[in-house]
């Protein structure tokens, strides 16, 4: 991710302090923050950054394929900086924790052509739902 800023500059991005901070927050930890969580962390680094800028920047990063958008629960979208390897998500239904996982096999191939109804398939999003070890232990 350290060369993310370089890649963005190559694509004509202006490197503003705000964009640096958003990139830094995404780089920091491998969790899947919501836009407002990212905003809160960005404010800690750059107090005057606005919510609109964080939303704009995240949207641009998604368009450029540098960040993935994940919507597991119909609430706030979460942003996943891990675009380097194809992966899916494992979500705890109790505490909301998300882990990246790597299923085996070709998921698209699992849909027979008789079930494709003429669609051109572009991808598959898979969300494994369950209880994490901690929550299962408490239940």
């Amino acid at each position: 991710m350290s060369d993310l800023l370089a890649r963005l500059r190559e694509r004509g991005w202006r490197l503003t302090a705000q964009r640096r901070v958003v990139a830094q927050v995404l780089d920091g930890e491998h969790v899947h923050y919501t836009a407002d969580e990212i905003h809160a962390r960005a404010v800690a680094l750059l107090p005057e950054i606005s919510r609109a800028t964080v939303y704009n920047t995240l949207g641009e990063l998604v368009s450029l394929g540098e960040v993935l958008e994940v919507s597991t629960d119909g609430r706030a979208k979460r942003y996943d900086p891990n675009t380097h390897d194809a992966h899916q998500h494992l979500v705890c239904e109790s505490c909301g924790a998300i882990r990246d996982v790597h299923p085996s096999g070709d998921l698209i191939a699992g849909l027979p052509s008789s079930e494709r109804f003429g669609f051109t398939l572009l991808g598959v999003d898979v969300t494994y739902r369950g209880l994490c070890a901690d929550c299962a232990g408490r239940a």
Copy 2:
């Protein structure tokens, strides 16, 4: 779905005009409406029905397992009255159309135990993303 009301009464539900209307809208067509679309159709049948009642009723139907909640795009949740057979969803990224599909194979088995991180798996939600025949033709 015609015996949905009977099943609900067995579980202690009061059968109000409002609940009958929501059940009727869900029964009508096999599309995946948003809560507000369901409300609009319910109003056509029972003009004084309120938005809160539709949201409450849908939430209760989901809790009882009579209706599935689908959140494909991070916008409004959609409600799927087809709980009779296990299925997944095929979504057109251009027009938003949703089709029920039936992939082959055991999707949960696709996640090796080394990738389960101690989670107790409860289910898998799969969304195949693509372009429907109409939208692909226009592109």
